[in-house]
């Protein structure tokens, strides 16, 4: 297995005054190019912290992140993030939100006209070109998240980081958007790392599912391969034996062996 993205012995300890909390303990993971990996765990298990470490928004206490064998410890467009709450800038239009990143990343390599075309290309990929001059407050939650995805894709990241991208959406929109992301992954072959707490979402989208134990000191409990051929069809999978088995495995992990403790 060729390591494209490598998480190397990552520990994260939060210190507040004299109190220290170990959030993550000895996280090791290698991800291949083009792979779709999900990280699943109960809330508070530190999966978002882990994503922030990979994105460079937080630093690991010990250990590090290697992307193509180079250590990365500050944020950058090569690890673009799709944030849970879309995080579009409300004073910019849909187009300007995507353009912001494009202008920075391709400042030298693309001309103005090329950057404009590239923005529109990415808005087309997520079927949002029609709303280019709308402001985020004028479009629905699902549309905002589409724009968030376009903004991240437009930076041509080496790894696309999705932080519970569908968490704030209603079930219908979520399903629709999951299909879109699957289609994009199929088409563009991005390496994707997704944080989720939705078992079906994880099984449907991922090549591998990384299951995390409960915090504090969360570890990787188990890594499950999802040997389902792509393209995957939501309706057909509902009765697929492999799909159901994978789903069962994840559910068992989350609800039997690592039941969520409310008090934690």
């Amino acid at each position: 297995m060729t390591a494209y993205l490598k998480l190397d012995h990552i520990d994260k300890v939060f210190t507040r005054g004299a109190a220290t909390t170990e959030v993550l303990k000895d996280i090791n993971l290698t991800i291949e190019k083009g792979e779709y990996v999900s990280i699943i765990g109960h809330s508070g298990c530190g999966k978002s912290t882990l994503l922030n470490i990979i994105a460079g928004l937080t630093t690991a206490t010990t250990g590090g992140v290697l992307l193509e064998n180079r250590e990365v410890n500050s944020p950058g467009p090569d690890r673009a993030v799709v944030f849970q709450n879309h995080s579009l800038l409300p004073w910019l239009t849909v187009y300007e939100n995507v353009r912001l990143g494009v202008d920075k990343v391709f400042a030298r390599t693309k001309s103005r006209a090329e950057r404009d075309a590239w923005v529109m290309h990415n808005l087309n990929l997520v079927q949002m070109a029609h709303a280019r001059d709308k402001r985020p407050s004028e479009i629905s939650g699902g549309m905002k998240q589409r724009v968030g995805i376009a903004r991240a894709l437009a930076m041509e990241p080496k790894v696309l980081l999705l932080d519970e991208p569908f968490g704030a959406l209603d079930a219908l929109t979520r399903a629709h958007l999951q299909d879109s992301v699957m289609a994009l992954h199929q088409k563009l072959g991005n390496t994707i790392l997704m944080i989720t707490h939705d078992v079906d979402e994880a099984v449907l989208l991922s090549d591998r599912i990384v299951m995390m134990t409960n915090g504090p000191s969360a570890r990787i409990g188990e890594v499950l391969e999802v040997p389902l051929a792509r393209p995957r069809k939501r309706l057909e999978l509902a009765t697929n034996a492999t799909y159901l088995k994978c789903r069962q495995r994840v559910l068992e992990f989350l609800y039997e062996r690592h039941r969520f403790v409310e008090a934690a």
Partner: protein, 296 residues
Amino acid sequence: MNMPATKIELETASPVAAPVVAMTPKRPPRTEAYARMARETAVRVIPPLVVIALLTLVWELVCRRAGSALPPPSKVFKDTKELILDPFFDHGGIDKGLFWHLSASLQRVALGYSLSAIAGIALGVLVGQSVWAMRGLDPLFQVLRTIPPLAWLPLSLAAFRDGQPSAIFVIFITSIWPIIINTAVGIRNIPQDYRNVAAVVQLNPLEFFSKIMIPAAAPYIFTGLRIGIGLSWLAIVAAEMLIGGVGIGFFIWDAWNSSHISEIILALFYVGIVGFVLDRLIAGLGKIVTRGTAQG
């Protein structure tokens, strides 16, 4: 677990997305729209007019009697008719029409307020962005901002040895505090999400300032600017009474010294109107600039 329910929803969802239907509100006939507009205007305009009329009536009745200290509105109008009708005369010195007095005051305010807007936003950004700047400067600000505007005047006269820059300094020092404090709060309240976006996109500090900070904090900044303009108009009238020269403040003081009570009342009326207009101006500007920043 919500599995079975989710599945059923997904089945209905998967085939096609619902078509987008553009809705145009049904337009009522034009005359009806005008009638409604007139009604809405009347609702806003009539109550204050009634109140003003009643108050004027009471004032007239109270001050009409012989030996009353203040003139009734009818006398005020009679005494100040010339000033009202010709605000543009200029007989040299300080014997000028009210327009010139007001414009001199407004010029001082414009200069002092512009300086304080620039310095206030800059300091506010510094204090909002840097914890150390806040720790160092915030206590100082909290003490200095309680000093009454006029208390600065003797000191600034001593420093500048001239009335004009002193008055401008008083405007500056009066209006800067709310601008600093509100800007700092606005900067501190920039959501972490926007900072994360800026970090991922790798905006440099200058781009972060212009593309994230200022737009994100704009609603707060304009709150500060609006309080600031009100305070500077308050301060200029008081400061001008002391420094003399052309200006609405000294006009009032001069009228008092020559016992022209009616002129004082007229000047107060103008001061109120100008203050109101200034406030609306900044509020309107804020509305235009912060359009679209409401989160959704």
